[in-house]
């Protein structure tokens, strides 16, 4: 079956589902049950994290294809199988989910109502997300991709802020509308190829005319999820209204689904359409970087500012993916990991302020560095990573994308890199408003520095930020084989003669 002889990916995927079931069936009075529910959720998420680490240790980075493969008959009537597997691309996205879920659960002590349902929803979300990254059959992928929507919708709509219903409906409508196009694409591909095995699909020869339409369908689905400008407008509302743990999962993990989709489907399956849409994607990416950075600058609320900065970073990821160079794509992939960790850290910092009863309006904050030095250091670190300072995780992705983009076009590289300047601006404006100058109001002076629980959330993220920044090779190592294969296949599909020449030259 696979090198372990054991369906470990399915175990990682469905264990949280079991946890969700346990949490949901808890009974007893509410405060006690809430505590118990949190504990169960935390234990389950930590156990799957350990299993994930085990998978990472057993992972062979030299192999370009899927590993830990599981195949089971499923919808045999229509030639669809249950297929799971990971390669270097999905491995760390799964790890990201596994790391951030327990942290998000730790961040949920602000949830006071219907706690049991909340933790059930969080575990359900983890199951769906991991399933989505581990699926290697398009139908299975589609099922998980859609299923992610449900727990997230509930998390925003039930436990969100004042405008939660509006935000939740908007989120749901935008993403569902996008995914419907993908459903059409799934059906078309299934009819055309007769299979939905993603490993086969990646090398399928799809006629150029159809590629254009399929690409547009993918753009609708993945573009909304990745919040590609101008499909991003659901995002500030959703990020702003969701409760902190929901925002963490949404910003850190779910936003990667879109970029993952582009990398997994659009680029390998539709090489000629990807190439012809390259200029469009560059424009969208550059617009996101520059225009959204300006918008971020104009924000008056900490959470919304971070949300817009997130959209700007998605622009960098999109640019990197569509350079079709090893440096650019690995940079984009690295940026996905880095962004996940950094944005989670930033939202946790916002949550820490909320937990102390303060609003996140920037004009009501200020001077926190004085009484909360550790908090200030943490927020500073994540902000620096967010602006791509060398030595932090943010730099690696940024410079690789700049390098990759320059191989294609000088201006894309320069304008895509403009985030270096604009990102500094809104980031520094943010830390200034929160940490520096005088207290905006006297009661800020009595706020306490981090609690143990908050250390437990921030320290792992801070360590990861530094680890990714100082020794990124532990991660890029696993990217090399699949990305090299991807780039080679892309070049080969576009220039059959050149590829042939390369092969014969070897």
């Amino acid at each position: 079956m696979n090198q372990l002889g054991f369906p470990i990916l399915s175990l990682i995927t469905y264990l949280p589902l079991l946890g969700a079931f346990l949490v949901a069936t808890l009974s007893g009075d509410d405060a006690k049950a809430a505590c118990k529910a949190r504990r169960i959720a935390l234990i389950f998420s930590l156990v799957v994290l350990l299993l994930g680490v085990y998978v990472w240790t057993q992972f062979n980075p030299a192999i370009a294809g899927y590993q830990f493969v599981e195949v089971m008959p499923w919808l045999s009537g229509i030639n669809v199988e249950y297929r799971m597997g990971v390669d270097g691309i999905s491995l760390f996205l799964i790890m990201l989910t596994l790391v951030l879920t327990p942290i998000a659960i730790l961040a949920s002590n602000g949830i006071k109502t219907r706690t049991r349902s909340f933790f059930a929803a969080m575990l359900l979300l983890e199951t769906m997300t991991i399933g989505m990254f581990a699926a290697t059959d398009f139908v299975l992928f589609y099922v998980f991709f859609e299923a992610v929507l449900l727990p997230m919708y509930l998390i925003i709509g039930v436990w969100g802020g004042e405008k939660r219903i509006y935000a939740a409906v908007k989120f749901f409508v935008f993403t569902l509308a996008g995914s419907l196009f993908m459903l059409l694409a799934v059906v078309w591909i299934w009819r055309h190829l007769g299979t939905t095995n993603m490993a086969v699909m990646a090398h399928a020869n799809i006629p150029a005319s159809a590629q254009t339409w399929l690409f547009l369908a993918f753009l609708a689905a993945f573009g909304v999820k990745a919040a590609v400008w101008p499909l991003h407008t659901w995002l500030p509302d959703a990020y702003g209204e969701a409760p902190v743990p929901g925002t963490i999962m949404l910003a850190a993990v779910l936003s990667k689904m879109g970029a993952y989709g582009f990398l997994r489907f659009a680029i390998p399956m539709l090489p000629s359409a990807s190439a012809s849409f390259e200029p469009l994607m560059f424009v969208l990416g550059v617009v996101a970087v520059i225009y959204i950075s300006y918008v971020a600058l104009a924000q008056t609320d900490m959470k919304r500012l971070i949300a817009y900065s997130s959209v700007a970073h998605m622009g960098v990821i999109i640019i990197g993916l569509f350079t079709f160079t090893v440096e650019g794509i690995e940079g984009a992939l690295f940026q996905m990991l880095s962004h996940g960790i950094v944005i989670a850290g930033l939202f946790i910092c916002a949550g820490i302020i909320t937990a102390r009863g303060e609003s996140l309006a920037l004009k009501n904050l200020g001077g926190l560095a004085r009484n909360m030095p550790v908090f200030a250091a943490a927020l500073m670190l994540f902000t620096l990573a967010n602006m791509g300072l060398p030595g932090t995780s943010g730099f690696i992705g940024e410079i690789l994308v700049i390098v990759g983009a320059l191989k294609v076009n000088f201006w894309v590289s320069l304008l895509g890199g403009a985030g270096m300047v604009l990102g500094v601006t809104y980031s520094l404006v943010l830390v200034r408003a929160v940490l520096f100058e005088k207290y905006a109001k006297p009661d800020l002076a009595v706020l306490k520095d981090l609690t143990c629980r908050e250390y437990a959330m921030l320290v792992p993220l801070a360590v990861l930020v530094m680890w990714l920044g100082v020794y990124p090779s532990s991660f890029t190592h696993a990217f090399d084989a699949p990305i090299a294969a991807l780039v080679q296949a892309h070049t080969a599909a576009l220039n059959p003669h050149m590829a042939l020449a390369m092969v014969t030259a070897k």
Binding site: P390, I399, L414, T425
Partner: protein, 635 residues
């Protein structure tokens, strides 16, 4: 091995005094940072004595495709010289800071920052590839930001810190793209690969703006724009004077001796590449010479003691670029080292004055301090003489070498450089003497209660001054034979590439009046200052009235801030507001969303103000690109 200790000891010190502070306590954590800095300085001297070694690989960093910068310490002559300078000056300033920051609430935070700074600076100078250099480059920029903003409850400090970071980042973006283009061209970012590959790429072209340019020129231009930001050259200089909001030891260490010189260092480091980019060299010469002159004119009328010295730094950095631009890299390094010593001395002496004057920085409110602060006065005198370039003080040897190289280059740009540089020498002598006279001679103009508190600084502050003063006095004639003497090639080895066309090689051919001119102009500057501030003190006021437009022009720093504001900030403000509105109303056409969000539009306007510097910085970058491309086009 010693280099490794020299580079990483400050990092250990920074972590101990910063992170381990709760465990160590205040005194111990300060002691830790000093101790590790002493270790670093000692190790640096040992490393220098042992001499040049092959690069020392520490660990893998990035390895993606062919892009493989790794953590490596380069140990050639250029790096070793810089390591010694940085660690020794930094060690002295650490010691000085113990005294200067004694009354501060969180001195250990301060010590931690400057140790971290030293680490980043040492990583910069020992980098073996462009990306590690960029790591140090951004690291020093970060700590500079943190230290300008050290007293973070002051609004001015926040403004200055953000401005510094953003203007620097404008340059850094060009630098980053330059790194990418170097990688694209040479297939590597490692120095040795780039340097050996230069010849093979001389004829290669790169298309920009629909025109084809030599690729090496484009790379050199991009890197130099990065250097312009860091070294506060004209157009990207506006941050440096504001950066004086930080504590004075920082102004000495970061904004005079080390970080701002990083741009010069980088150009010298890339000398094999720069030599192959004649248009870029010409551009460097012109920018450097213009900055030297322009900043000196501003220095003549400033009234804040630190701002005068800051503009002087700007101007002196211009001299270094002038030398680099005519290919006289060893001369640039010579001036860099001399400048580091005498400018650190000047700043620390100024700090001693400010300390004595209860934090007063306006020289119009000083005067007559010579009698009360004899030691500081003597130190300031030595620093001033070195800056004015009076023999045998250090500045004389290097500044004259810069100007002689410029003249000997026999190019239009070189001659322009000589003219600007010589004029600036006169202005330098004037503003330096003016500062000295206003602070130390005459009657005190300070309020009574300040006068009563005037006292000489503690020994811990004066001792570093003494060491630096010895350096500022002697470094010129001691180092000259090695750095730029006949055997300079033996000294620098292959760490610096001096082309056959370099102005430096014809330095000795400059004789007679041309050779004497800078010194004569300098003496003239002193005499004018004597006339203005010792003999006829009413003259400056009358002159300022008589030539009011010129005076205002200089006082307002050539209106750079105002021009940027009018041309860039306000239009971009409108742009940002438009962007924000259109995102909300046009793209997000959901009507019920907007009522709530746009309701407090006035609050947003306030917010925009704080971020506006960034907008102009970005548009400034575009303007700069247009300028550079026009320049290449005309060539």
């Amino acid at each position: 091995m010693y280099t490794l200790i020299a580079v990483f000891a400050p990092l250990v010190g920074a972590v101990l005094s910063g992170v381990a502070r709760p465990a160590l306590g205040k005194q111990l954590s300060i002691a830790a940072s000093i101790l590790f800095m002493l270790v670093s300085a000692a190790a640096a001297v040992f490393a220098y004595r042992i001499g040049v070694h092959p690069p020392l690989a520490i660990a893998q960093w990035i390895q993606v495709g062919g892009f493989n910068p790794h953590w490596t310490l380069r140990q050639d002559q250029l790096s070793l010289v810089m390591v010694v300078m940085v660690s020794v000056v930094s060690m002295l300033i650490h010691v000085y800071s113990v005294g200067y920051m004694a009354h501060d609430e969180t001195p250990q935070r301060f010590m931690s920052y400057i140790s971290l700074f030293t680490f980043a600076m040492l990583m910069l100078v020992t980098a073996n590839n462009l990306v590690q250099l960029f790591f140090g480059w951004e690291g020093v920029g970060l700590v500079s930001y943190l230290l300008i903003n050290y007293w973070y409850d002051r609004k001015a400090a926040n403004d200055a810190a953000i401005k510094a970071f953003i203007v620097n980042r404008v340059g850094d973006l060009a630098f980053a793209v330059g790194i990418a283009l170097a990688y694209f061209t040479f297939g590597s970012v490692n120095f040795d690969v780039i340097f050996t590959g230069v010849q093979a790429h001389v004829g290669q072209h790169y298309t920009l703006f629909g025109t084809s340019f030599p690729v090496l020129e484009v790379i050199a231009f991009l890197l130099f724009i990065g250097a312009m930001g860091k070294s506060a050259q004209i157009f990207l200089h506006t941050w440096l004077a504001d950066a004086m909001e930080g504590p004075t030891p920082i102004s000495a260490l970061i904004h005079a001796a080390t970080m701002v010189a990083a741009g010069v260092f980088m150009i010298v480091r890339m000398s094999p590449l720069i030599n192959a980019a004649p248009a870029a060299m010409e551009f460097i010469t012109i920018i450097g010479a213009s900055t030297a002159f322009f900043a000196a004119t501003i220095g003549c009328v400033q009234n804040d003691i630190k701002r005068v010295i800051a503009y002087s730094t700007c101007s002196q950095l211009g001299y270094m670029f002038l030398a680099a631009g005519v290919g006289a890299y060893p001369v640039a390094m010579f001036h860099l080292i001399n400048h580091a010593l005498f400018k650190a001395l000047l700043f620390l002496s100024a700090g001693s004055v400010i300390h004595a004057m209860s934090d007063e920085q306006d020289i119009r409110l000083m005067g007559g301090l010579g009698g009360k602060l004899p030691f500081t006065c003597a130190m300031m005198l030595i620093g001033s003489l070195a800056l004015i370039a009076i023999p045998p003080f250090s500045g004389y040897y290097s500044k004259d070498a810069v100007l002689e190289s410029a003249l000997a280059a026999h190019t239009a740009a070189g001659t322009y450089g000589w003219v600007c540089g010589t004029a600036a020498a006169g202005l330098t002598a004037f503003y330096t003497s003016r500062l000295f006279f206003l602070v130390f001679t005459g009657k005190s103009r300070a309020p009574k209660h300040v006068q009563e508190h005037v006292h000489e600084s503690p020994v811990v502050m004066l001792l570093p001054l003494l060491v630096l003063a010895v350096g500022a006095f002697a470094s010129g004639f001691v180092l000259k034979p090695y750095f730029i003497g006949a055997q300079f090639q033996n000294f620098w080895g292959n760490s610096i590439a001096v082309a056959a066309s370099s102005g430096m090689l014809g330095m000795d051919s400059v004789t007679g009046l041309a050779k004497m001119a800078p010194l004569l102009v300098g003496i003239l500057g002193i005499l004018v200052a004597v006339l203005f501030y010792l003999l006829v003190p009413s003259l400056p006021g009358r002159l300022a009235q008589g030539m009011a437009p010129l005076y205002r022009f200089l006082l307002n720093k050539w209106y750079f801030d105002e021009i940027y504001d009018a041309l860039l900030v306000r239009p971009s403000l409108r742009l940002a507001k438009f962007a924000w509105r259109s995102d909300d109303q046009v793209i997000d056409g959901v009507p019920n969303g907007l009522a709530a969000i746009t309701s407090d539009a006035s609050a947003q306007a306030v917010k925009l103000q704080t971020g506006s510097i960034a907008l102009y910085a970005f548009i400034m970058l575009i303007g700069l690109l247009v300028l550079v491309s026009l320049f290449i086009w005309v060539k």
